[in-house]
């Protein structure tokens, strides 16, 4: 079944306390190669049938109205994926 993936990330200028906490934990398990971690969200919107332009447009609207808050987050991806390619 095709799905639409929406990725949402905290805006670059906003401190991401969750990412910071994760970055602090990585060296504790011996992983010292990372200077920063930022944590975002991935949404998968399933569709019955084909993904039409209209449905894709609805996904874009969902991404900017409900799935993200433009004050603190950016939508970084709205894309159709097929099973197996994700």
């Amino acid at each position: 079944m095709p799905r639409i993936v929406v990725d949402v990330m905290p805006k670059p200028e906003i401190l991401d306390p969750q990412g910071k906490a994760i970055a602090g934990a990585l060296p504790r398990i011996g992983l010292n190669g990372f200077s920063e971690v930022r944590q975002g969200k991935r949404f998968e919107l399933a569709v019955d049938g084909d993904i039409t332009d209209e449905v894709l447009e609805q996904a874009r609207t969902a991404a900017t109205t409900l799935l993200s808050n433009p004050v603190i987050e950016d939508v970084t991806r709205v894309e159709v994926i097929d099973d197996g390619s994700a």
Binding site: P17, A21, L66, N69, V71, I72
Partner: protein, 252 residues
């Protein structure tokens, strides 16, 4: 402060319950102690039942899923609240407390947003605030510069907005409450509460409804020095928000 006399008892203040709201009972109690009649409103209803003002109480509506307040903001009742709050002429006074404040920012009735506390901890403490604006519908029974202590309890309490918005809020006198002495959660410019341009919509993270009755609010009787030399009130500092809106309604 004594509850207002006269017509105040006729004032009907709606308290909205969302799935996961925690503090609706306390908010209704605060309304009653202030001298008005609380009206329970359900998020799924389509009518405001002709209330004179609305309180969006604290809690974790929809488990804070997605973002705090993000799903509640689209509740049927919120459409009515938003329209009434922005109505020309006599806009509906609306107070958002904690999760209610988050709902108001998600609904774009107030600018900015809340993210996780800077230190990532859930905080629960008695918090000293400075009342910066004593002319809104919900703060006219305070005096500007007055310091109060009410509880603060949240996980996503860090108020953020871009610099332009912050400058505008400051310039227009729309910073209503500011954290005093120390900034508990990293909020920009120590902002604890703000209002819309008209002053009828106010949101704040701390909880005035938990400080409305002697013996149950922050009350150290002066022996506790956590708050420095400011003499603490009797634990009822939050009541003035609720008597303020009654004053607003009586004057209107």
């Amino acid at each position: 402060m004594a509850p207002l006399e006269g017509d105040a008892a006729g004032a009907r203040i709606g308290v909205v319950t969302f799935p996961g709201t925690l503090d609706d009972r306390d908010a209704a109690r605060a309304v009653r102690l202030a001298g008005a009649t609380p009206v329970n409103l359900w998020h799924g209803d389509g009518s405001l039942q002709d209330v004179d003002a609305v309180v969006l109480p604290g809690g974790f509506s929809y488990g804070d899923y997605l973002r705090a307040g993000a799903i509640s903001r689209f509740a049927p009742l919120m459409g009515k609240v938003t329209a009434a709050a922005e109505a020309p002429g006599s806009p509906l006074p609306v107070l958002g407390i904690c999760n209610g404040f988050q709902v108001l920012t998600e609904a774009h009735l107030l600018p900015g947003s809340m993210v996780k506390n800077e230190n990532l901890h859930f905080m629960c403490r008695d918090q000293k605030l400075t009342v910066e604006n004593a002319s809104t519908s919900w703060t006219n029974q305070f005096t500007a510069g007055e310091q109060i202590v009410i509880p603060l309890k949240n996980q996503d309490g860090q108020f953020i907005a871009d610099e332009h918005t912050l400058d505008q809020l400051e310039g227009d006198g729309r910073v209503v409450f500011r954290y005093a002495e120390s900034n508990p959660n990293g909020s920009r410019r120590s902002i604890a509460g703000i209002s819309n341009a008209a002053g009828n919509v106010v949101g704040l993270m701390p909880h005035p409804e938990h400080a409305v009755e002697p013996g149950f609010g922050p009350d150290s009787s002066g022996a506790d020095r956590r708050f420095g030399d400011t003499p603490l009130a009797s634990g009822t500092d939050g009541l003035s928000l609720f008597t303020s809106v009654l004053n607003t309604l009586l004057v209107a």
